[in-house]
Amino acid sequence: MGGRCESGMVERDLHVDARADDAPWIREVTSTSASTEQARPRLSALLPIAAIRLRIPAMDWRAAVRASGEALVAAGITTPAYTDQMIATVEQLGPYIVIAPGIALAHARPSEAVLRPGLSWVTLAQPVRFGHKDNDPVTLIVGLAAPDSSSHVQGLATLAELLEDPTRRAALMAANTPRDVLGVITEYERRDVRGVGRG
């Protein structure tokens, strides 16, 4: 069993406070534990049907990220400036947003361009390459807009659980309509609430 080194724990709070002035989101991230996640909006509440677009043509990663940004704008989650910020993030930091085989989590920093926390869901007619070593090509772009670092935690956790489950992931990728995508999500959330099981 672990617990090899405790020295970091003592310094933790001091360190976080020291960072909080120039990086206010860090304090919130570090204070968010699993037990507080229940109060956060669930995935279905963060993903409006207007932000789901299926089999969109995109010729490259920029077009794909742009489509995911446009879906956020269409649902009133962000202003168009956020779309440019998401593209700039990849230009600056590289394709690390491709978090799993075929899946990109497009996002930028909290900014005035974020009107409320929310997600978009865009699948592509043809997969595109982001330049990621392991996870290219990408078929699904999840756009993430967060006004802070905690409001989307529960939604993101559910998203990870759904995408980890091969059956549900396949159902999501095969969905023909935005309603079908939400159907898979809400069905899973109902199971979760009833405690029937986590897939």
Partner: protein
């Protein structure tokens, strides 16, 4: 033990890493503090961390840091997280 999940902005993939690592550590029966840092503040925060979790891409940008760096390829694959944390943390 302090584990630092490093991502670009501190709120997307880093949060996912932290959530997956929490589950993995429960499975492994390991107690640890988990924090999230964006790439800009990661080098400073790494000073007090025992382990860093990040992607291959960001590990390259992070460069050389004191703690061991574990890179995750598939952020929604709990098995990968468990195996890599087991290899890094559990003495056999």
């Amino acid at each position: 033990m302090k584990i630092l999940a490093v991502c670009g902005m501190g709120l997307g993939s880093g949060l996912l890493l932290r959530m997956q690592a929490e589950k993995a550590l429960r499975q492994l029966g390991i107690d640890a503090d988990l924090e999230v840092a964006d790439i800009g503040s990661a080098r400073a925060m790494a000073q007090t961390a025992d382990l860093i979790l990040t992607s291959n891409e960001l590990a390259e940008q992070l460069g050389k840091v004191k703690p061991r760096v574990v890179t995750i390829s598939n952020f929604v694959d709990l098995k990968e997280m468990v195996e890599k944390l087991r290899a890094a943390l559990v003495k056999t």
